[in-house]
């Protein structure tokens, strides 16, 4: 490995990345490159050891802890995309089942003549449960939404 190549490889190293075998071989034979690598390592260690903050360690911690004690516990949010699939299934069922049932009379055979009432009840129950869970898990978003539009005071 040439001298310039070795120096370029040193400059390309990622944080925490070790030397390649070729680079190690070169460093073992080239005192100039070995010295450059050693100085670079020492400089970075010295730089990282510096503390730029003169502030009292406890000051920020106490303020943060005081602020979060007033807040509700962080809770596991459900991503909106998790709600899309069940919503799509319910919506599709609401439209497709009656249409298919009427066209093919398959549902008449399977469920008997009163199936429309049963389907309406099941879909209604599914839709109600979905809505309850969705609203219950998005209360804070709803609150923020209303506050932003001035519909609810803090």
């Amino acid at each position: 490995m040439r001298h310039e190549t070795a120096l370029r490889r040193l400059d390309e190293l990622d944080a925490g990345q070790g030397y390649s075998l070729l680079l190690r071989l070169h460093l073992s034979r080239c005192p100039d490159c070995a010295d450059a690598a050693r100085r670079m390592g020492a400089a970075l260690r010295a730089y990282r050891a510096a503390d730029s903050s003169n502030a009292d360690d406890r000051f920020v911690e106490e303020r943060v802890m005081a602020a979060i004690r007033l807040r509700p516990l962080p809770r596991q949010d459900f991503a909106l995309r998790d709600w899309v699939f069940p919503a799509a299934v319910i919506a599709a069922s609401m439209f497709l089942l009656p249409v298919l049932g009427r066209k093919t009379s398959l549902l008449d055979l399977l469920l008997g003549p009163g199936h429309e009432v049963a389907i309406a009840l099941v879909l209604g129950l599914g839709f109600t449960c979905y809505s309850i869970f969705f609203i219950a898990t998005h209360m804070s978003e709803l609150q923020t939404f209303l506050e932003k539009r001035g519909l609810r005071t803090r």
Partner: protein, 194 residues
């Protein structure tokens, strides 16, 4: 072992788990462990200790609120720095004064003269490399040199492509290497003269 010592031994993940289970006080472990890094980022942006402390408080409260969304795909420190970076960028956008990144960040440290000299040279090289870059890209250099973050982690925090970050860091390292070389020559000359 005191409860404070036991709390200090908690890993970030364990502390997060305890906070999510309702032990709000476990969040103090995370604040204590990561405060200095967040404040330093604040100093880079706002150049003022009081503002940096306010910034750190804001970042930690945001992190607490969003803690349930931390899924452990990256280190907590990387996730926290991403929140800090976005908070700082948004604060700068809101601010009328478009301040450059701190050109004279005061470095306080303990150590011998050689170490201090090395630190000063490194700080100068970092500043020189950052000088020509827009603030958001300049911060990539600081994230590598001070925070010891990998290119991929810096990309995750800042949203810049890895190759862009690599080229900025590469340039900064070359500047630093040249400075360190000149420093060695000065030392050799002084030794020979003596």
């Amino acid at each position: 072992m005191s409860s404070a010592d036991q709390a200090q031994e908690l890993t970030d993940e364990a502390a997060i788990g305890r906070v999510l289970d309702g032990d709000t006080e476990a969040f103090a472990v995370l604040v204590r462990r990561h405060r200095a890094r967040v404040e330093r980022l604040g100093m880079s942006f706002f150049h003022d200790e009081e503002e940096a402390a306010d910034f750190a408080q804001d970042v930690f409260v945001k992190a607490y609120t969003a803690l349930a969304s931390f899924q452990g795909r990256s280190l907590f420190s990387t996730w926290l720095l991403r929140i800090a970076y976005n908070t700082a960028i948004n604060a700068r956008k809101r601010s009328r004064a478009q301040l450059p990144l701190d050109p004279e960040l005061e470095i306080v440290g303990s150590g011998g003269t050689d170490e201090e000299h090395l630190r000063e040279e490194t700080a100068r090289a970092v500043r020189e490399a950052m000088a020509d870059l827009p603030p958001r890209q300049a911060l990539c250099i600081e994230l590598f040199f001070y925070y010891d973050l990998k290119y991929s982690e810096i990309a995750e925090i800042t949203g810049f492509p890895v190759n862009t970050i690599k080229s900025h860091v590469f340039r900064a390292k070359r500047v630093l290497r040249e400075r360190l070389g000149a420093m060695r020559e000065d030392n050799d000359a002084a030794r020979n003269g003596a």
